[in-house]
């Protein structure tokens, strides 16, 4: 267990790591002697969580590396046959509701709840099957503890059932450029123009 010892040093990042109480993101060390600290994150920012992602295909990134542009985020799992296909479709509807130039400035993040089975390789297959080009989509695995952390921060409730499937709330959240949740939707069966407008507002 390490402690954030030097407040002057990359405060936001170190603070996030200390607060998360779990594994520190690798870039804490990479940037330790590097350039000035980024502006402090707002108190509601999810980029304080220190969550690490493994993108479909295999590359790793810190959740807070998405800072700077709007992120539409949801949690799902690839073997889900009931609501998740609709959740995927809803993400695609939101993306399709934007102009191409707008779309490329947004990340559509889908993090799997199934840390054990949804490997980055499996998620790459899923992204291909469902026509989710990366970018702007980012289909990602996270370690079990990080799944729990992210779901809690997003207010997504889930539970693994004895047959290996998950019961989970289907929620899509818009994060602003600093990672603060600014809009949510549970509209799956139809398009949600209000949510698309919220995404667009973040691009202004």
């Amino acid at each position: 267990m390490r402690i954030a010892m030097r407040p002057a040093l990359a405060l936001g990042v170190a603070l996030a790591a200390a607060l998360a109480g779990a594994a520190e993101p690798a870039h804490v060390h990479e940037h330790e002697h590097a350039t000035p600290a980024p502006a402090p994150l707002p108190g509601g920012s999810l980029y304080q969580l220190g969550v690490a992602l493994d993108a479909a295909g295999g590359s790793s990134l810190a959740l807070d590396s998405l800072r700077g542009g709007p992120v539409v985020v949801t949690m799902f799992y690839s073997s889900c046959t009931t609501v998740c296909p609709m959740l995927t479709l809803a993400m695609q509807h939101i993306a399709a509701g934007l102009e191409p130039a707008e779309r490329e400035r947004v990340r559509f993040l889908m993090v799997s709840l199934d840390a054990a089975r949804d490997t980055p390789a499996r998620l790459a297959e899923f992204a291909a099957e469902h026509h989710l080009p990366q970018p702007p989509f980012l289909v990602a695995h996270a370690a079990a503890a990080d799944v729990r952390t992210l779901a809690a921060a997003l207010g997504i409730r889930y539970r693994q059932l004895p047959d290996g499937s998950f019961s989970h709330s289907s929620l899509i959240t818009l994060l602003d450029r600093d990672g603060v949740a600014t809009a949510r939707t549970q509209v799956l069966a139809a398009e949600d123009p209000g949510f698309v407008a919220s995404v667009r507002a973040q691009l202004r």
Binding site: G21, G43, Y158
Partner: protein, 259 residues
């Protein structure tokens, strides 16, 4: 981070959460039990692997030692995402208990994130709901006393007490068969998977109101519908968000590989 101070603090943490505290942890042998809420369709039993659990809830004094080592978790420093505005509100200051927070009282007004960070610093984790329920099914002599009306009555008597009374110090209730105290009758406790319990009153009477909101089996139905103490606890936990803090909600830590 530089080696010197990090090592020194690691040593501090080891004392705080390591050998000195080990005697305060009760070993819990693995086993199988029937949770009040069935885990799934046609599945009634749950296996719990051996683990260890704090004998008592974490106290104000213990949490104070933690925030002294981890200033980011002090009252007024933790961001809104991780702890709401009531976080440690009964403490006199960021690193001071004061008259409203006795050192031996269980710490409350702590969020799930804060509880989890404390347990991680102590080399542990929060217990899962099934671990908690498994241990809480025991009385002084039996691993599962839940069918005994007297056991249930004793727990219900606590619920009948008016809220707002000062919390008792930890360690004053009888130790159960595992040597664990205060599971009933003192506070509510965070568990790692508090957000997944998802039983709703609707599951008794209605079809499936959550069909769209929940993927998979949706709202679960209660297996033992007259176990009010446990159902109340599940209802309370299900209503929480991870940054919530309340006057009666604390935690204890578990140790061992997460299930």
């Amino acid at each position: 981070m530089r080696a010197g101070p990090s090592l020194a603090l690691c040593a501090l943490l080891a004392v705080h959460g390591g050998a000195a505290a080990a005697a305060e942890r009760a070993p819990v042998p693995g086993g199988e039990f029937t949770p009040v809420v069935a885990p799934g369709k046609d599945v009634k039993r749950v296996a719990v692997a051996a683990f260890a659990l704090d004998r008592r809830p974490v106290t104000n004094a213990e949490f104070l030692a933690f925030v002294r080592e981890r200033p980011a978790w002090r009252k007024g420093a933790a961001p809104a995402l991780l702890a709401d505005g009531q976080y440690l509100r009964h403490w006199a200051g960021p690193a001071e208990l004061g008259a409203g927070a006795g050192p031996e009282q269980p710490v409350t007004h702590v969020s799930w994130f804060a509880a989890r960070a404390y347990c991680a610093a102590a080399g542990g984790r929060l217990p899962t709901w099934y671990e908690w329920e498994y241990v809480a099914a025991a009385d002084e002599t039996r691993a599962d006393a839940r069918q005994d009306p007297a056991f249930r009555e004793r727990i219900l008597a606590w619920y009948a007490l008016p809220s707002g009374r000062p919390l008792p110090p930890v360690g004053k209730t009888p130790a159960n068969v595992y040597g664990v105290q205060d599971l009933h009758g003192v506070i509510w406790e965070w568990v790692e998977d508090f957000g997944g319990l998802m039983v709703s009153g609707d599951s008794r009477t209605q079809g499936d109101p959550d069909k769209l909101q929940f993927c998979g089996a949706g709202a679960l139905s209660a297996e033992i519908r007259d176990d009010y103490p446990i159902l109340m606890r599940i209802a309370l936990l299900s209503s929480l968000e991870a940054n919530f803090t309340t006057a009666n909600l604390g935690f204890r830590c578990a140790y061992g590989a997460p299930p």
